[in-house]
């Protein structure tokens, strides 16, 4: 298991990626351990704030010892993050969470599925899957990404590592509808799914996967406090007894954020 620490990280670059969505590269030693699907807690400096903001890791560059965070501005904390310039330092807690079980895709057709701000963590996932060597190499890596409109951020980068399929709510690009509609319309085959996105999307994926006999791993989001498994703030209901409290509540920050869909009571 990787070591957790709270440390300063140097901003390498930051830019606007789409409306309200920012693209940030940080130099940090946690890059060497970071896996796709894991996240970091980022601290605002405003003294009125207490808690780190959980943000998923979009990409890892081990050579530069850097991680890429693609985040949406949702409040004053994330609004502060947009002000950081190259050379500035931010404080982060990490690396947190379990990440996607990439070996589950060995020899299989794997589909990474993202919706909205759930898209970013799947980029590193697609990259690692496409770069995997035998015996863990998947036979096919596809990506199905859902957006509101033609602002299909990161989709070109997915095409470097996978066959990309797009769904948009307004129908401006790809299939009109959601990621499941795109799966059906564009005949995307899957043995294994790795997904991140809003809860209704994840529920629909679980249902779809169950009906088709596909193995699905879902990355969840919840309001968090500590990020390290102590406060029990960010739980999700599970079908099996959890190992911490034995009450069918798993901790998203430490037992997750990625869960086998079969284990989730959604």
């Amino acid at each position: 298991m990787s070591v957790k620490m709270k440390k300063e990280a140097k901003v390498l670059s930051q830019g606007l990626l789409a409306e309200g969505i920012y693209d940030l590269w940080l130099e940090t030693e946690i890059a060497k351990d970071a896996c796709p699907g894991q996240f970091v807690g980022v601290y605002p400096t405003n003294k009125a704030t207490l808690l780190p903001r959980p943000i998923s890791i979009c990409e890892v560059d081990r050579e530069r010892s850097a991680i890429r965070l693609v985040y949406r501005v949702v409040g004053s904390g994330t609004a502060e993050f947009t002000l950081y310039q190259p050379g500035d330092y931010m404080t982060i807690l990490g690396v947190l969470g379990n990440g996607f079980p990439l070996v589950a895709a060995a020899g299989k057709k794997v589909v990474v599925m993202g919706g909205g701000i759930g898209v970013p963590p799947l980029l590193e996932t697609a990259k690692r899957l496409s770069e995997a060597d035998t015996p863990v190499k998947p036979v096919l890596v596809s990506a199905v990404m859902g957006y509101r409109n033609s602002d299909t951020f990161l989709s070109e980068e997915f095409s470097l590592y996978s066959q990309i399929h797009i769904a948009t709510e307004d129908g401006s690009v790809g299939t009109k509808g959601n990621v499941i509609d795109a799966m059906r319309e564009q005949n995307v085959e899957a043995d294994v799914i790795f997904a991140c996105g809003p809860m209704p999307m994840l529920r629909a994926i679980k249902e779809y996967a169950q009906a088709k006999g596909i193995k699905a791993y879902l990355s969840l989001e919840e309001r968090m406090a500590c990020g390290v498994g102590a406060c029990l703030g960010c739980i999700c209901k599970t079908t099996r007894e959890d190992h911490h409290s034995h009450v069918n509540n798993a901790r998203i920050c430490t037992d997750g954020p990625v869960f086998d869909a079969e284990d989730l009571d959604m």
């Binding site: 070591v3 957790k4 620490m5 709270k6 601290y43 003294k47 009125a48 704030t49 207490l50 808690l51 780190p52 807690l93 919840e222 309001r223 968090m224 406090a225 500590c226 990020g227 390290v228 498994g229 102590a230 406060c231 029990l232 703030g233 960010c234 739980i235 999700c236 911490h244 409290s245 034995h246 009450v247 069918n248 509540n249 430490t254």
Partner: protein
């Protein structure tokens, strides 16, 4: 220089503890903090049986603090004794187990189950959690009920007991006196202050439980005032807590009359807070030539 403090015959290497519910049983924070350096680990509340807690969202940030309505999720005393107490065996720190329940019998069952556990140095009785509908806080808001539960626990407890008091009362002095009169060995305060947050964009409560307990730096002045009032009402030792972020805050509580202090919500902000407070207290003592931490207690007139 002496940083050791004593409560009911139990000697703590320094006055810095963890506030219940913010530190698990130390396992999760052992990645960050050397537990051997702490005066005590105060565990998350444990009941006679597992409790599932409240629905999510359970936490929300507010100005200078946070609200929580976890609802005392815990694995029950059997798992706790087998796993958490065993984990704590390898550390040279005192262990205070926080006990919760929905009825007097629930509390007594946990206290009796832990009676022979050598790793348990003290028990902290949580009669002040604002997030559990039955029991719990009902015992902590009426002095007669507090007196009753305290005396019944004292009859069966082998370890010294600390009654953890709620700030959601008219007179903290009256509650402190009731605990003392019933035989409590110490009191700890404050638990969280009941609060509420509304998301105006979604037109919904920020917490599924609607209300939650406010903690963090925002509550510190209230906590210091209540520790001061309680210290003037009773002679038993007090463990002070509420928004402690650094050594200066901790010393404020000690000067208000606390024998020991606990770090709570700020563990979430900075997992190294407890160790930093220990170090900062020593630096303060050197700076002002304080030989014994106990000289500072209640020193403010």
């Amino acid at each position: 220089m002496n940083t050791q403090v004593e409560i009911a015959g139990v000697k703590f290497k320094n006055p810095v503890m963890t506030a219940s519910g913010t530190f698990g049983s130390g396992m999760e924070y052992a990645d960050f903090v050397d537990l051997n350096k702490l005066g005590a680990v105060v565990t998350k509340g444990v009941a006679n049986v597992p409790w599932p807690g409240n629905p999510v969202p359970r936490v929300a940030e507010v100005y200078g603090g946070m609200l929580n309505a976890i609802g005392l999720q815990n694995p029950g005393v059997e798992v706790f004794a087998d796993r958490d107490l065993k984990f704590l065996e390898k550390y040279d720190t005192k262990v205070i187990v926080n006990v919760c329940g929905k009825s007097v019998e629930d509390y007594l069952e946990v206290v009796e189950r832990l009676a022979d556990e050598e790793r348990v140095d003290m028990l902290e009785i949580n009669v002040s959690c604002p997030n559990v509908k039955e029991g719990a806080i009902a015992f902590g808001q009426k002095s007669a009920a507090l007196f009753d539960i305290t005396s019944r626990i004292k009859e069966v407890a082998r370890q010294p007991i600390i009654m953890k008091l709620s700030p959601n009362v008219t007179s903290i002095s009256e509650m402190a006196k009731a605990a003392e009169a019933a035989g409590a060995d110490a009191i700890s305060l404050i638990n969280t202050i009941t609060g509420m947050k509304i998301d105006i964009h979604k037109r919904k409560f920020a917490l599924a439980n609607k209300t939650g307990g406010l903690s963090g730096p925002a509550i510190k002045p209230v906590a210091v005032r209540m520790v001061y009032e309680a210290a003037h009402a009773v002679n038993i030792p007090i463990i002070g807590m509420g928004g402690i972020a650094n050594a200066e805050d901790a010393i404020e509580f000690i000067m208000a009359g606390a024998t020991a202090v606990a770090v709570g919500a700020m563990n979430f902000h900075d997992p190294y807070t407890t160790e930093k407070v220990v170090k900062g207290i020593e630096e303060y003592m050197i700076r002002y030539g304080v030989e014994d931490i106990n000289e500072l207690r209640g020193i403010v007139e």
